[in-house]
């Protein structure tokens, strides 16, 4: 159902500091509509901070974030959802007291219209809206992500991998045009990682959503991304197609402290087979 076309995201010269600590130093990159862009870099490079700037949780001290050419730097975090921006979190941020279904429904919040009075009465419009939402979630999201067996379980009971999947489901319920995924496969086993990779590609192809992801799993990054940007100590050090970045000596140096791309690949493979 490619009804919503993907949005283009442009980050321009974004700078962020906490006290004296410069977390982002004039970073610029773009995520093209309908593509998968990966943001990589060593621990503490500023990737999550960049996501927080994009989703409006942090206010950058300089620079702009543009969605389809429109400057959204001043838009409140809560209003960015209505513009079609959705994200998942590095440390899963599900609502543990709620069921999977309620978590997913929550994602739609910004697109629903029920007001307080209608909510108290729950007649007519409010009830219809809820029913339509439920039906759509069942049809488009629960089936798609293969989570129908857990829909009424409280999320606190689920495995880590399933929780990540529910987070993706909730993000999809936000009717995103761009999806920010912060380490979508961290802590997952091989099989779960492959499932997630498939879902991400399906979301891109079938829903036409632009995807920007932070990921440490280089295998996944190389496999599914169209474009890669590399951060190190808050600055962008490389950008390009996956294979370009892979062979960039700066990138290898950032990861290893040496300029040998082959060493990087060896280490990455070693990590992967250890996992």
């Amino acid at each position: 159902m490619p009804e919503a076309r993907g949005a283009t995201l442009e980050v321009d010269n974004v700078t962020l500091a906490f006290g004296g600590l410069k977390v982002l130093r004039g970073v610029s990159f773009a995520a093209q509509a309908g593509s998968v862009t990966a943001l990589i870099g060593p621990n503490g490079a500023g990737k999550t901070s960049m996501f927080n700037c994009i989703s409006g949780f942090y206010r950058p001290s300089a620079g702009t974030v543009r969605l389809d050419g429109q400057d959204i730097s001043r838009v409140k975090a809560s209003s960015r959802a209505a513009l079609g921006m959705a994200r998942s979190f590095q440390n899963i941020a599900l609502f543990r007291g709620m069921t999977v279904l309620d978590n997913i429904k929550l994602g739609r919040h910004a697109h629903l219209r029920t007001n307080l009075l209608q909510g108290l009465l729950h007649l007519g419009p409010a009830a219809r809206e809820e029913e339509a939402l439920r039906a759509e979630i069942e049809r488009k999201i629960i089936d798609f992500l293969e989570i129908d067996h857990i829909r009424n379980k409280p999320v606190a009971m689920l495995s880590y991998g399933l929780q990540k999947r529910v987070e993706l489901a909730r993000a999809l319920a936000m009717q995103p045009r761009i999806l920010l995924l912060d380490e979508p496969v961290a802590g997952m086993n091989r099989e779960e990682t492959e499932d997630m990779a498939r879902f991400i590609l399906d979301v891109k192809d079938e829903w036409g959503v632009t995807i920007l992801m932070v990921e440490h799993d280089m295998g996944l990054v190389m496999d599914i991304s169209d474009h890669v940007a590399v951060l190190n100590f808050g600055a962008k050090i490389a950008e390009g197609r996956p294979e370009e970045v892979q062979n960039d000596p700066h990138v290898a140096e950032a990861y290893l402290g040496s300029g040998d791309p082959a060493a990087l690949m060896r280490r990455l493979h070693a990590e992967e087979s250890a996992a």
Binding site: T48, N52, F57, F89, Q90, N91
Partner: protein, 294 residues
């Protein structure tokens, strides 16, 4: 000295006296909060219990003051130990609000017990401080207030020294700044919890005796704890300095409003101050700000 100025000085001195008691009570809050991250709203009721214990030992059993006072303080300490072991430790890891409400419930239990044993009528403590006033320059101050001020100042001084130099004080500071790290340094963290509650409640009980000596005791005197709560919120829950400055400050402000605007304004001014502080500096004037991350 003109009459106006004299009056102002007298009011100010009285304010400093009650401010010292507020500071002492606030210290009890801070001590317990620093170690266990619990706001003990039963401090006010512990204070009241201290007053009644003193009454029981001094008037009921006819013990001399020098015996009754330590016994009352020890009674507070025992209460602290029981509460910490029996109620607070099982609540470890629960939401701060739940633990806070436990102390609210505890306060109610203490009020009920005191009412059951001693009735609801206010009582006066057997006088152990002479009634002759003290003159500081021309200004008149009640001797009780002077004694309370000096006692409070002494106790606070001892606390500050202990906190700095005594091993237990260092352990307490370590626990306050990082519980896990304190554990791994071999500090007996549960022990620190107990000690903090014992000392905190003992302090409150002692303050209750001083307060009772000045104004008598009644089951509802725990309300004083609310003023001390305002002090710690304004000063910063984890700041000893904040408790001292906040206590003296609030004592002064209450005395001034009481004398110049009228007693009915005291609570508005006190709580207005609280709200203003919360809105401007949610973590108090000297408290540490905790940041949240995604």
């Amino acid at each position: 000295m003109s009459d106006d100025l004299l009056f102002f000085t007298e009011v100010t001195l009285a304010g400093l006296g009650s401010g010292a008691l507020l500071a002492l009570t606030a210290l009890s809050f801070v001590l317990i909060y620093k170690a266990t991250r619990v706001i003990n709203l039963a401090v006010g009721e512990t204070l009241m219990l201290g007053g009644y214990l003193f009454l029981a030992f001094a008037a009921g059993m006819g013990l001399p003051v020098w015996a009754a006072l330590p016994l009352a303080i020890a009674g507070g300490g025992v209460l602290g130990a029981i509460v910490e072991r029996g109620l607070i430790r099982p609540m470890l890891g629960k939401s701060p609000i739940s633990v806070f409400m436990v102390t609210v419930g505890l306060g109610s239990v203490l009020v009920g017990l005191v009412e059951m044993l001693w009735g609801t009528d206010p009582r006066t403590l057997p006088g152990f401080i002479a009634n002759t006033p003290v003159f500081i320059g021309e200004a008149y101050v009640s001797r009780k207030i002077v004694v309370a001020f000096i006692a409070a100042a002494l106790v606070i001084g001892v606390f500050l020294a202990l906190f700095r130099f005594w091993r237990g004080g260092v352990a307490l500071r370590a626990t306050a700044s990082d519980q896990a790290a304190a554990y791994s340094c071999g500090i007996n963290v549960p022990g620190v919890f107990s000690i903090a509650w014992i000392i905190g409640c003992a302090t409150a009980a002692g303050t209750g005796v001083l307060l009772g000596a000045i104004g008598g005791i009644s089951p509802s005197m725990g309300i004083f704890g609310l003023s001390a709560l305002v002090v710690v919120i304004v000063g910063g829950l984890d700041s000893i300095l904040g408790a001292l400055i906040g206590g003296l400050g609030l004592g002064l402000i209450q005395a001034w409003t009481g004398s110049y605007l009228g007693g009915e304004y005291q609570s508005v001014v006190t709580f207005g101050l609280l709200i203003v502080t919360l809105v401007i500096r949610p973590y108090g004037l000297f408290g540490t700000h905790e940041i949240e991350r995604l």
